[in-house]
C-alpha cells in the first residue's frame, strides 16, 4: 500500500475502502442501471449520465485533511458518485423527484446549491442528493452492506456543468485563494449561464405551447390560421388529407400505395407559395380533379400497380405550377435541380397540354 502519510485511523479507513472495492463496483452497476432505466422510461433527453468511484489517492487526500470527521467508511458519502446532466432546469427537478422515489434520500446531507445563493450572488448551481439503495429496489443476501452505503447523486443542467467544469479546471476554490477580480468574472458568467438556462426553458415551453395551439387548430379545422411548418404539416398529415385523391388515383390501376417521405413536399409547398394549411386545403380543392386527370392520363395506359403515397400531393403541386406558368421550372421545384428534369418537364408539359386545365383561358 502506498504511504499517503495518514494517521492510523485514516490508514484503517483506506484499507477498508480497498477491501470493499468490489462492493462499490456492484453498487455503481446497480445504481446506474436503475437510473438509466428511469431516465429512459421518463422520456427525458439527458446530455449525459456519468459515474465514478473515488480514486484511492483522492480518498487519501480527503482523509489526510479531515479523516477525523469520519468514524467509519460509511460516513463518507461520495466514494461512489453519479451525475446526470440535463438540458433544461425543469428536467433537473423531474429527475430529482424520480430519484426520490427510487432511492432513500438522506435529506440532512443533501443540498440544493441552486437555492444557496444570495439574491445578488451567482455561482455553482447543482442539486446534490445523498442516497441509499433501498432493499425494495435491490437486495443481495450475500452483500447486505450494499444497502447501507451512501452515495452522491448530482443533477445539473449542461450549462451549470460547463461552468462547474471550467471553474474546476481553473483551480478556483474561493475568493481567499483567487483575486477578487477573477471571482467577480466567474460570478458574472454564472449569472449569464443562469439567464441562458432560464431562456432555453422559456423557449422550450413557448414552442410546446405553439405546437399544442396549432394542433388544436388543425383538429378543429381552423386551417387558415395555422402557418405551414414542419410541426403543423405533421399534424395536418395525421388527418390524412390526401387519402381521397390518392385512393382515386390508385384505383386507376388498382395500385397499392407505398409509404414515402412527405417532408420533401413541405419545402415544395413553401416554394409554391403555400404559407398556411388553409392555402394547402385550397390547393387541393382547386386542383383535385386536374391532379386526378393528370394521373389518369399518365397511368391509364399502364399496368403499374404500385404508387408512392405522395403521388396525389405531387400531382397537385405539378398542376398548380403548370396553371400558374411554372412550366419547366416545376420539376426543379419538385425533384430539386437535376439535369433530367428538362426531359421530365417536357414529358409532363406535353401530357398536360392535352388536358382541359391547360387549355382554359384564365
Amino acid at each position: 500500500m502506498i504511504d499517503y502519510g495518514l494517521d492510523l485511523h485514516g490508514e484503517m479507513l483506506l484499507e477498508e475502502y480497498c477491501d470493499k472495492q468490489p462492493l462499490f463496483e456492484e453498487l455503481q452497476r446497480v445504481v446506474m442501471e436503475k437510473l438509466g432505466a428511469l431516465v429512459r422510461q421518463s422520456g427525458i433527453e439527458v446530455n449525459s449520465m456519468e459515474s465514478r468511484i473515488k480514486a484511492e489517492g483522492s480518498l487519501a487526500g480527503k482523509l489526510r485533511l479531515k479523516g477525523h470527521k469520519y468514524a467509519s467508511l460509511l460516513d463518507i458519502t461520495d466514494i461512489f458518485g453519479a451525475r446526470i446532466i440535463t438540458f433544461y432546469n425543469e428536467d433537473v427537478d423531474r429527475i430529482a423527484s424520480m430519484a426520490e422515489v427510487l432511492f432513500e434520500i438522506d435529506w440532512d446531507n443533501s443540498v440544493d446549491k441552486r437555492r444557496m445563493h444570495q439574491f445578488d450572488s451567482f455561482g455553482y448551481n447543482s442539486l446534490h442528493y445523498i442516497c441509499r439503495l433501498p432493499e425494495e429496489q435491490y437486495y443481495d443476501p450475500e452483500k447486505p452492506e450494499l444497502n447501507k452505503i451512501r452515495f452522491e447523486l448530482q443533477m445539473r443542467t449542461a450549462l451549470q456543468h460547463v461552468w462547474s467544469a471550467i471553474q474546476h479546471d481553473i483551480g478556483y476554490k474561493s475568493e481567499i485563494e483567487t483575486p477578487l477580480e477573477y471571482h467577480r468574472n466567474l460570478s458574472r458568467l454564472a449569472g449569464m449561464l443562469e439567464l441562458a438556462d432560464n431562456e432555453f426553458s422559456r423557449i422550450r415551453n413557448a414552442i410546446a405551447d405553439y405546437r399544442r395551439r396549432a394542433q388544436s387548430l388543425v383538429q378543429s379545422g381552423q386551417l387558415e390560421e395555422v402557418p405551414l411548418d414542419l410541426d403543423t404539416f405533421r399534424s395536418y398529415l395525421d388527418k390524412r388529407p390526401f387519402d381521397r385523391l390518392n385512393r382515386k388515383i390508385a384505383a386507376i390501376t388498382q395500385a397499392e400505395l407505398h409509404e414515402a417521405p412527405w417532408w420533401p413536399y413541405l419545402k415544395v409547398l413553401r416554394i409554391i407559395g403555400m404559407n398556411t394549411l388553409g392555402d394547402v386545403e385550397r390547393l387541393m380543392r382547386d386542383n383535385f380533379d386536374d391532379a386526378y386527370q393528370l394521373a389518369l392520363f399518365q397511368l391509364g395506359s399502364t399496368d403499374i400497380d404500385i404508387l408512392a403515397e405522395t403521388v396525389g400531393l405531387q400531382n397537385l403541386c405539378i398542376v398548380h405550377l403548370l396553371k400558374t406558368g411554372g412550366g419547366r421550372l416545376s420539376l426543379d421545384t419538385i425533384n430539386s435541380k437535376m439535369p433530367q428534369n428538362e426531359t421530365l418537364a417536357e414529358m409532363v408539359i406535353e401530357q398536360a397540354s392535352r388536358l382541359e386545365f391547360m387549355n382554359v383561358k384564365r
Binding site: I304, A308, E309, T310, I334, L344, M347
Partner: protein, 100 residues
C-alpha cells in the same frame, strides 16, 4: 442475369440490364441478396442497359432502398433511360431515390 454485382470503392455497383418484368423480378430476388446483406454501404444501380421496369421491378428497387435506409446505407440510380424516368416520376418514386 439481371443484376450483375461488383464490389467497388467500398460499396457495391449492380449493373441492371434487360427487361425487369414480373418473371425477371422474381428471378432477380435471389440475385439482390448480396446487396441486401451489404445495404449499410453505398449501392449504385447502374441502369444503362435496363430497357423496361414493371411494378415488380419497382418493388425490387424499393426493397433495396428500404434495407439501405434501415441499415444506414445509400442507393444511387444511374443512367436510367427516359421511359423509366417517366415511370419513376408518374408513380411518385422519383424523390425516393438519388437518381443521377
Amino acid at each position: 442475369m439481371i443484376f450483375e454485382i461488383n464490389e467497388q470503392d467500398g460499396g457495391y455497383v449492380a449493373t441492371v440490364s434487360g427487361r425487369l418484368d414480373t418473371p425477371a423480378a422474381v428471378k432477380a430476388q435471389q440475385e439482390i441478396a448480396p446487396l441486401l446483406e451489404n445495404a449499410d454501404k453505398q449501392i449504385t444501380l447502374d441502369c444503362k442497359d435496363l430497357e423496361y421496369i414493371s411494378s415488380s421491378g419497382l418493388r425490387l428497387f424499393l426493397t433495396i432502398r428500404k434495407e439501405a435506409s434501415s441499415k444506414g446505407g445509400k442507393v444511387i440510380i444511374e443512367h436510367i433511360n427516359d421511359e423509366i424516368k417517366k415511370v419513376f416520376m408518374m408513380t411518385g418514386f422519383f424523390n425516393l431515390f438519388d437518381i443521377r
